[in-house]
Amino acid sequence: MSTLELLQLDFVRDALIAGGVLALLAGLLGPLIVGRGMAFAVHGTSELSFAGGAGALLLFGAGAVGWGALVGAVLVALVFGALGLAAHERDSVIGVLLSFGLGLGVLFQSLYTGRSANKFGLLVGQIVGIDTGDLISLAVTGLVVVGVLALTYRPLLFASLDPTMAAARGVPVRALSIAFAVLLGATTALGVQIVGALLVLSLLITPAAAAARVTASPLLATVLAILFAEVAVLGGIVLSLAPGLPISPFVAGIAFLLYLICRVAGSVRTRRRASRTVVPSGPDATSTSSQSALANQSPRPRS
């Protein structure tokens, strides 16, 4: 069948709807994830989500995979959220949990004797498996994530990008870190079922990282991240139809291409700005270079 004929099929339409919702959530969360320096935490969350999904598949069958993935992701995201923004300790804990989760997942998959497509799908993504029940749970998750974001967005952005000031202004930085982790866990669990655990990052990180290269406006960065994520997911699904390959390599490929384009565009923009500010324009500009040299020397926590 050609791609056009395949697009008429119900399961393909369901997959496109599911992908669209997932990309929306990924685009909304992405800039915050990048701002908080949580890319590795997302990867860890997706592996634990994979373990949860694989465990549910083994114990309760294919119908329980979504719930298992959700439980695994949210549990581990809570641990990462509680660790806060102390990047140093966080990275090693994530590494420890990630490898443990992956090991568990592999064990569950080896013990499972059912359809092999079910188990392969959790790692590299599947669109055949999405049914109407999945779409409803996807829509509910989507609404909850968007609703919570709408209510908490400003304090969340403040706490993510400027934590010291946010704390001084009375923003509950720690509680927000945990709330954000739950949103992240729920979204990751959806991502694991659609694009697979291995390449969730291509949706949650790459579009936002690309957007961050071309704009510093939080609003524009979010709009671009949603746009890039939609292009990657919907494009990835359509391209994967005719060759009958998993969708994740296409999603990851498109997202990577967009990232490369943004990086080039961003470096051109930075160079233009640099050449503009070479001429001292006031008392503040004269010692700008010595100032930044000083700033570079002082050790500062990177989060």
Binding site: P155, A167, G170, S217, A221, S303
Partner: protein, 269 residues
């Protein structure tokens, strides 16, 4: 007139240690009070009490007659200068805007025009309009600290708290920050509590000094507080205060003239 800050019999303990006690302090609107003292003397914790992040162990504290509370819009806060990550996805005006409503819940769709105006006004007050659309991470330390001042002023505060805002800035930029704060309090009668390691950058503008050393303190004008006798008593060792060409030099106190203090985070991580 109601004082901007009123502490009476205030005491703060951290575990078994008493940082300070019996503290009575009134800061009038428009007054500039510098808080000095060695590391660990409780300067930053004093600000945390005024911000409503810490409770006193004893005594009372009031900001414009009411107890301190988190996110009080009439209290502005300037942190230490610490460079923002080069890839921080914020422009200058976004950073200032967060100072206005970053602590507010809800989608915040209403009042966008008014918000933009207020951010614009705050940027103009510190002459930062020129680079307000540039990514904050691409700006110099001095430019970032100007934005920090705007971020503190955008809520139109009647009390301004500053926690070592001069640290790691060179002399010209130290003067710039002090001038901005001084201009604000003269034009808007904003009270200022300014925690600093170094007295000299603020000496020309300061009204009174609160000098804290290991639970003891002195309050008064620079001439009243900065005497060899006073500081020797506070530090319990021979300390000499010398005046050289309008500057005050403290010799013998275990105060490091270099900025080697570890940055103190406001609020536990």
């Amino acid at each position: 007139m109601e004082p901007a800050v009123e502490l009476s019999g205030a005491e703060l303990r951290r575990g078994p240690r008493t940082l300070w006690s019996g503290q009575d302090l009134q800061v009038r609107p428009g007054e500039f009070v510098a808080v000095l003292g060695p590391n660990g003397s409780g300067k930053t914790t004093l600000l945390q009490v005024l911000l409503g992040l810490l409770d006193l162990s004893a005594g009372s504290v009031a900001i414009h007659g009411s107890p301190p509370r988190r996110g009080n819009p009439t209290v502005g806060y300037i942190p230490q200068q610490r460079s923002l990550d080069p890839l921080t996805p914020l422009r200058g005006r976004d950073l200032v805007g967060l100072g206005l409503d970053g602590h507010r819940w809800g989608p915040g769709f209403g009042g966008r025009t008014r918000r933009r105006e207020r951010v614009q006004e705050a940027l103009a007050q510190v002459d930062a309009l020129e680079y307000s659309d540039a990514p904050v991470g691409s700006l110099s330390g001095g430019e970032q600290q100007r934005l920090r001042v705007a971020q503190a002023l955008v809520g139109d505060p009647s009390l301004l708290l500053a926690d070592e805002p001069l640290l790691s800035l060179d002399l010209a930029r130290q003067r710039m920050v002090v001038d901005l704060v001084d201009r604000r309090r003269r034009e808007h009668d904003t009270a200022v509590v300014f925690v600093t390691h170094e007295l000299n950058p603020v000496l020309p503008v300061v009204d009174r000094i609160l000098y804290l050393v290991e639970g003891k303190f002195r309050i008064g004008t620079p001439d009243e507080v900065m005497t060899s006798e006073n500081l020797s008593e506070l530090y319990r060792t021979e300390v000499e205060v010398v005046r050289v060409r309008g500057r005050i030099v403290v010799v013998g106190a275990e105060e490091s003239p270099l900025h080697c203090e570890e940055p103190v985070e406001v609020g536990a991580r």
